[in-house]
């Protein structure tokens, strides 16, 4: 298990998020914009649908022979003079990176945005051995200054308004009175970071893809910080989930054609960085050492598991942007590293079904996520599957199981069903006025607190049928 179970009930976490006016504003603006940008990007790109099918097929085929593709990748990276490490758990992955940091005498690590290093909680571990991690992606930089964690897979500071960022910078960087102007704030972050790039000994990144045939690690970024991180420090460590390997450069072209469109609505992201091992003789830039850490952490077990399809995920964040739940509560309320619809599946993969007892229900199953997913991951189906697993394993609350088993019995028997209608009609009598119910006690009150409930009709349709014929 990677992360401790969250004990605050989901409902409380969600309610707290709903009460945050700034969060609401920031999420609404950002997700609405992402949705429109994505729609426009694919609207101008008639090949998009076929490429999505193609990308999905590549993922399917690659995962069927994952071991072979990883072997090819390892052989090619080693041929280029790089080192590959395999980590079964988050702890092993951390230890591998820490060992590299200790051995190379690193004092400061610059990082480009990486969910994999978030997943293994690398920053705290680095700090603990005296290596200062510095996030260099603007969004990550903001949340590092705020001592928070990302609330979105590609837009880690999506939950903050520009006003909040101005306040944060003014306070943390001791530059009082900064305006809520993104351009000014970005310039300041750049000034602060420039010096870090030049002094850091370690560069840490994730990887969007690794091309097996050529031993190439691919980073897709927008700010140019990824290039600095992979080329300026003496040592570059990339941490990547094993499922991110793809066979060839031809495959890469397919993914690049849809990734940025799904994520930000860009045709391509500003930088696509291809890293092939350490600096070679005669080259002017690049690290002395290159390491790739291949992270399992529950992934391999799902190759034949119910969450297999979630291994297709490109981490584009499109499913978060369109999710009505995510758009209301943001990423932190989910409680774990990966938020949103896909995040629930990944949380289950990393931390086991008990971690999603409630989270698996943080979806209305509206299906917008599956529609937006560039590789068409059927997220709602797997959420239902997780709910089933939670029930079957006896993790679901007892009271809930009793209610659903009773409901099942009622729905199997027309006699009981009719009886329930009669009882309901009698029981609702004190609460009905004008054919509607404004307040009900206990469990039903969860509905009537904010919504009226229709009353059970004096005669059901089936009771009226005889009059109709």
């Amino acid at each position: 298990m990677t992360e401790p179970l969250i004990t605050t009930p989901l409902r409380e976490r969600a309610a707290q998020a709903l009460g945050d006016r700034f969060l609401h504003e920031a999420l609404d603006i950002a997700t609405t914009r992402f949705i429109a940008l994505r729609r426009d990007a694919f609207g101008d790109f008639p090949e998009g649908e076929a490429l999505r099918d193609r990308a999905r097929a590549i993922k399917e085929a690659t995962l069927q022979r994952l071991d072979a593709h990883l072997e090819t990748l390892v052989a090619n990276i080693e041929r280029l003079g790089g080192h590959v490490h395999f980590a079964t758990t988050a702890e092993e992955a951390r230890e591998i990176v820490l060992d590299i940091a200790r051995r190379t005498g690193a004092r400061m690590a610059v990082k480009s945005k990486s969910m994999a290093t978030e997943e293994i909680h690398l920053n705290d571990a680095l700090q603990a051995i005296g290596v200062t991690p510095v996030e260099t992606d603007l969004g990550e930089y903001i949340i590092q200054l705020a001592h928070e964690r990302p609330s979105h897979i590609i837009a880690p500071a999506i939950h903050k308004t520009k006003g909040q960022v101005a306040e944060l910078f003014s306070r943390e960087l001791r530059r009082p009175g900064l305006p809520a102007d993104p351009e000014v704030l970005t310039k300041i972050a750049r000034e602060e970071l420039r010096e870090k790039f030049l002094t850091a000994d370690l560069g840490i990144t994730g990887a969007n893809f690794a091309v097996a045939d050529t031993g190439t690690v691919v980073l897709v970024t927008n700010e140019g910080n990824g290039r600095m991180v992979t080329s300026l420090p003496r040592v570059h460590v990339a941490v990547m989930g094993v499922e991110k390997v793809i066979p060839s450069m031809t495959d890469l072209a397919v993914f690049l054609a849809i990734l940025a469109k799904s994520a930000t609505g860009q045709k391509l992201s500003v930088y696509t960085t291809l890293v092939q091992g350490p600096r070679r003789p005669g080259e002017l830039e690049g690290p002395d050492e290159f390491h790739l850490v291949l992270l399992d952490n529950g992934r391999v077990a799902q190759l034949a598991g119910p969450l297999r399809e979630s291994l297709y995920c490109l981490r584009c964040g499109a499913c978060l942007n369109v999710c009505p739940v995510y758009r209301q509560i943001g990423g932190h309320a989910y409680g774990y590293t990966y938020p949103g619809p896909i995040g629930i599946l990944l949380t289950a993969m990393l931390n086991g079904p008990a971690s999603v007892r409630d989270l698996s229900h943080a979806s209305s199953l509206c299906g917008a996520c599956a529609d937006a997913c560039p590789v068409r991951i059927d997220i709602p189906r797997m959420l239902i599957e997780l709910r089933r697993e939670v029930n079957v394993r006896g993790i679901a609350p007892r009271s809930e199981r009793i209610v659903f088993k009773a409901l099942a019995r009622l729905l199997r028997s027309p006699t009981l069903y009719r009886l329930a209608a009669r009882i309901g009609r009698a029981a609702q009598r004190p609460f009905v006025s004008d054919g509607r119910i404004r307040a009900l006690p206990s469990f039903f009150g969860e509905w009537t607190k904010t919504r009226d409930l229709p009353s059970i009709a004096a005669r059901t349709f089936q009771e009226r049928w005889r009059d109709l014929s």
Binding site: V325, L365, Y417, T450
Partner: protein, 247 residues
């Protein structure tokens, strides 16, 4: 889709009334029956109906859902065509029954039922080829896509065809018409605050649309949206498509 099948013999359909329409919105069922009869369709109501089992299925009680599905399949075994007034229940039957009952005695019947089941608006347009109706309510109207009908059955066209061809009421676009209303079955009471917050967005979009009435093809969405409108004492209404088409 065979429209020409409508010609010739009198079409016969069995109505799957669904639990929500049966208990809460029987008038929707009555209007569907009257409308279909006016169009020359013979309507039957197989006895012993309860619910399609979707609430059990979506909460992960699959053995229990399969038992309910098996009953439903048996009840509708002899029906030539089945018509369902809610997109989500139609989706359950068409999309989930075959998988749920695979390997059981009812498997073949489940496959046949899935192929013969129609959501109400689909049946009118795609099976009967009927697209022009008079409106029974005053416009402007705005259409809300229910999630299972739109993304589950990929049907956004037939309700719009019917509304756009309606005489006597204008139709205006609903911003974010394809966004969830926040109902989601048990989701609406497991996370009621989130469900309500999503609903508020839907209601704000409805108000912004200038429509006086929202139209939907799913009793779940209607329960949620009507519940929200009534609580706010809103003058706006939310109706099932069958309540809009003059029968």
């Amino acid at each position: 889709m065979s429209v020409s099948a409508a010609a010739g013999a009198t079409p016969r359909v069995a109505l799957m009334i669904t639990c929500l329409a049966d208990m809460f919105y029987p008038e929707v069922g009555e209007r569907i029956v009257r409308l279909l009869r006016r169009l020359g369709v013979e309507v039957t109501l197989p006895t012993g109906q309860t619910c399609c089992g979707l609430p059990l299925f979506n909460s992960g009680y699959h053995d229990e859902a399969a038992a309910v599905a098996a009953r439903t399949v048996t009840i509708f075994r002899d029906a030539e065509a089945v018509i369902v007034p809610s997109g989500s229940c139609a989706w359950m039957v068409k999309h989930e029954y075959p998988g749920l009952l695979r390997g059981r005695a009812e498997a073949a019947d489940a496959e046949r039922l899935a192929a013969r089941t129609w959501e109400f608006s689909q049946f009118l347009v795609r099976r009967l080829g009927r697209t022009t109706f008079e409106s029974d309510v005053e416009g402007p109207l705005a259409y809300h896509d229910s999630c299972h009908l739109l993304r589950g059955l990929h049907e956004g066209a037939t309700p719009r065809t019917l509304l756009n061809n309606l005489s006597g009421a204008a139709v205006v676009p609903l911003p974010g018409s394809d966004e969830c209303c926040g109902f989601g079955g048990s989701f609406s009471v497991r996370l009621p605050e989130v469900s309500t917050s999503i609903l508020e967005r839907k209601l704000a979009n409805l108000e912004a649309s200038g429509a006086r009435c929202l139209v939907a093809c799913d009793a779940g969405c209607l329960m949620q949206i009507r519940g929200g409108l009534a609580r706010r004492n809103s003058p706006l209404r939310a109706l099932h498509l069958a309540e809009v088409l003059k029968s």
